[in-house]
Amino acid sequence: MIVNLPDTTTHLISERLDGLHEQRGEVAQGRVLTLLITCSPTELEESLKVASAASREHPCRIIAIVKHDVDASESRLDAEVRIGTDAGAGEVIVLKPTGELTGHLDTLVIPLMVPDTPAVAWWPTTPPADPAKDPIGAMASSRLTDAGRTPDPRRTFSSLRKFATPDDKDLSWTRLTVWRAMMASLLDQPPHLPITHAKVCGEPGNLSVSLLAAWLRVQLGVPVSIEWDAAATAVRGVTLTRSDGGTLGLVRPHDDEAFVSVPGEQEQRVSIPLRTLEECISEELKSLNPDEVYVKVINSDFTFDETFVEDSMAASSQENALL
């Protein structure tokens, strides 16, 4: 059910929401968090769809703030309340402020938040320059950006990187969890030989590819090279070279079908689908903990266009294994 509230106040919105709950015989308890979405009018519906789907796993109140007429002479608040089938397992409040009101978004949201529970801020595309200082971001205990979906991913990410705190996370990192888990479990298996070199292959310009390489370099402390492959979608594969020259590989040639190769064993097939936005948001809502590993990775020394080839390695006997 969608209820339109033109030219309204926050008081009327929360009264209406309580009324709807009562009328429908629902209790509005059990919401574990508030998800604050800041987006443009064109992104609204898709973002709400993703958030509502994620709310099935983490029931939350979703507050979407759509800034449109910032320069309007009149300050006015239009709103929508969505509930039931139109809002997943949560409830949705859409706020459309105009004019001077757009400069005071925090006080607009404060009366509508779920009391005494954490808030998560998500910018589906364009984030503020410093999310932690943004009025909405400052209220959140976890801030999600998605530089990969902005017009210039590398530039956006580089600027976010400057201000990042352990509570700021970019979804280009979240998209890597499955790959990282697979790589870690590959190394769990004996023999536990040191890794001397790693290679990541992936889509040119994809942030996740660079982050995966940076993570491997930080954790393994070895040179990591990147091979940009124009035919790839996101990460295509990772190869780890051991001190005995053997290589451990995880390669996803197409779609979600990937292959694991380990020296002395037959290649195994494994399904690694591209992660959906919904899965990423769900993962972020599951754990609101600061991500120290991510901070370590983005504060490590890397740029997005480097390919980290170490000459001494290239000359060594492992060359064939790397190619």
Partner: protein, 512 residues
């Protein structure tokens, strides 16, 4: 190799990295009794769900062992059907193909040495082709009478022995014997073949989120633990009620009864988790130590006639459906003295619980399907109200709802609106499903994954099983002298005897 493993830590597993899920290492599972109900409805779907959640390794094998003349392909079809019908997560062709590549079937009887040598070959083939590296689990989804022969075959064929750096584990389901003696014998049989720390006893209740949440609730909060003792707690009621009859399980159930079927394992485990002291850590060793301590402090009532009750369901109406009494069920003799309802009082001899009775009850064909732990508190020592004002005020209670509708209920008195001061009981609900995921993993997923990872905190040990039988045996012996259990109408809350047992102590059963 062992040396390099000892001090080795995986550089990609940072302790601060909270995102990385635990994925099982290369391994396979062999299921005995794979065409049974449990395998079809729970085990096979749980294995698929684990694969779908990306928690199984690429090198994974699944072998069915059974009587039917099936090829690998035919068995894979069977697994696919079970998965499509009962899996929790959506069916994905790529997950299925990954799983299907490791599916094998071995035809044979349990007493056929040939068949076990074929099984040995199959497992070796999985090591070779699928890279399962000699890590294999054996799931005994078979009646306990078949354990000894299967165990012996596993030993004879060398399947139970692992090479260096690999593991063999065995998973057994309840019943773990039918009394202390048989439980010990069973443990001897299994441990003569497998190392004690390679034996995993499944009590699927312990895999449930709510049961694990009990530990979080007690030990992560400041609110509950200070009143979790004899100073404040009046008594505790632990209930597991089923609305179904014995169905097709006559052969298993008759002669076993409700107490052996449910109290010995599920209810005593719930009692242990409710009553135990805070463990030093949540490692298997520390958790088991506390559970063992509390089970060894359990004292039976002196007068078993007054403090235990048993019943047998009689014909009646279960909701809109007319149902037969226990003695009229197919395969049950007309003079069976097996109880379908059992209630017992236990006391715990520790300072924390001195004088607090624990009431355990379970039964079939009761009012509804529900499992809960209710901690009932004492009345306030002084009520500064007119006595008429608190007439409707009962005792405060914290109820942990294990199933269905998992969550916690807090019961306390509240003023009835109006001019007069009148206090009445109200309930405050926390619903696990509403606050967290609607799609929480099945207990079997968690437990099977724990077996593959070799993490035993949620599995009862031999000692816990033995202690449970020590508690139940004297009661069973007493009941054996008491003739026919008291009948109760199907769809009600058990026999009159059980209500009387509570009345003797000045309590009443909750209506869950």
């Amino acid at each position: 190799m062992a040396d390099s493993t000892a001090g080795w830590t995986n550089p990609l597993r940072d302790p601060h990295d909270l995102r990385l899920p635990r994925i099982a290492g290369p391994c396979s599972v062999v299921i005995f009794g794979v065409t049974g109900d449990l395998a079809q409805k729970k085990l096979l779907p749980a294995i698929y769900d684990l694969a779908n959640r990306g928690l199984l390794p690429p090198s994974f094998g699944l072998t069915g062992f059974g009587r039917r003349e099936w090829s690998n392909e035919r068995f894979a079809e069977f697994v696919k059907d079970a998965v499509k019908k009962h899996a929790r997560t959506p069916f994905r062709e790529t997950t299925w193909e990954q799983l299907a590549a490791g599916i094998r079937f071995v035809q044979g009887e349990f007493d056929d040495a040939e068949a076990f040598s074929r099984l040995s070959d199959t497992v070796a083939e999985l090591d070779r082709v699928r890279g399962t590296r000699g890590n294999h689990a054996f799931y005994m989804s078979v009646p306990p009478s078949a354990f000894p022969v299967v165990a012996k075959q596993l030993a004879d064929s060398g399947l139970s022995k692992s090479q260096e750096g690999a593991w063999r584990r065995v998973i057994i389901e309840k019943p773990f014997g039918h009394d202390l003696e048989s439980a010990k014998k069973l443990a001897d049989t299994v441990s003569s073949v497998f190392e004690p720390d390679s034996i995993f006893r499944i009590d699927h209740y312990l895999g449930k989120e709510t049961v694990q949440n009990l530990l979080a609730m007690r030990f992560a909060n400041m609110l509950f633990e200070p009143i979790w003792n004899a100073n404040y707690v009046d008594h505790v009621q632990i209930t597991m009620a089923e609305d179904i009859g014995i169905g097709g399980r006559a052969g298993y159930y008759d002669g076993i009864g409700a107490a052996r079927d449910v109290i010995q394992n599920h209810l005593l485990q719930l009692l242990a988790l409710t009553a135990m002291e805070e463990p030093v850590s949540f490692s298997a060793h520390d958790l088991t130590m506390e559970k063992t301590k509390i089970l060894s402090a359990v004292r039976l009532p002196k007068d078993l006639a007054a403090h235990t009750a048993r019943g047998q369901y009689a014909a009646g109406w279960q909701g809109p459906e007319k149902v037969a009494g226990y003695l009229d069920e197919k395969g049950i003799s007309k003079d069976s003295t097996t109880e379908t309802y059992a209630a017992i009082r236990l006391d715990i001899d520790t300072r924390r619980w001195a004088g607090v009775p624990f009431y355990l009850r379970t039964g079939k064909r009761l009012g509804k399907r529900v499992t809960e732990i209710a901690v009932v508190f004492k009345k306030a020592p002084h009520l500064p109200f007119e006595s008429t004002a608190t007439k409707e005020l009962g005792k405060n209670a914290i109820v942990i709802r294990v199933q269905p509708d998992e969550g916690i209920t807090l019961r306390f008195g509240s003023k009835v609106p109006g001019t007069a001061m009148e206090v009445r009981d109200v309930n405050m609900d926390f619903s696990y499903g509403r606050s967290f995921t609607e799609a929480s993993p099945e207990a079997y997923e968690r437990l099977i994954l724990d077996v593959f990872l070799g993490e035993p905190p949620l599995f009862p040990t031999t000692e816990e099983v033995n202690l449970s039988w020590k508690i139940l045996d004297p009661i069973e012996e007493f009941w054996a002298t008491q003739g026919q259990p008291q009948p109760y109408r199907s769809g009600t809350w058990g026999p009159a005897q059980a209500d009387e047992m509570m009345r003797n102590d000045g309590h009443v059963w909750r209506l869950p």
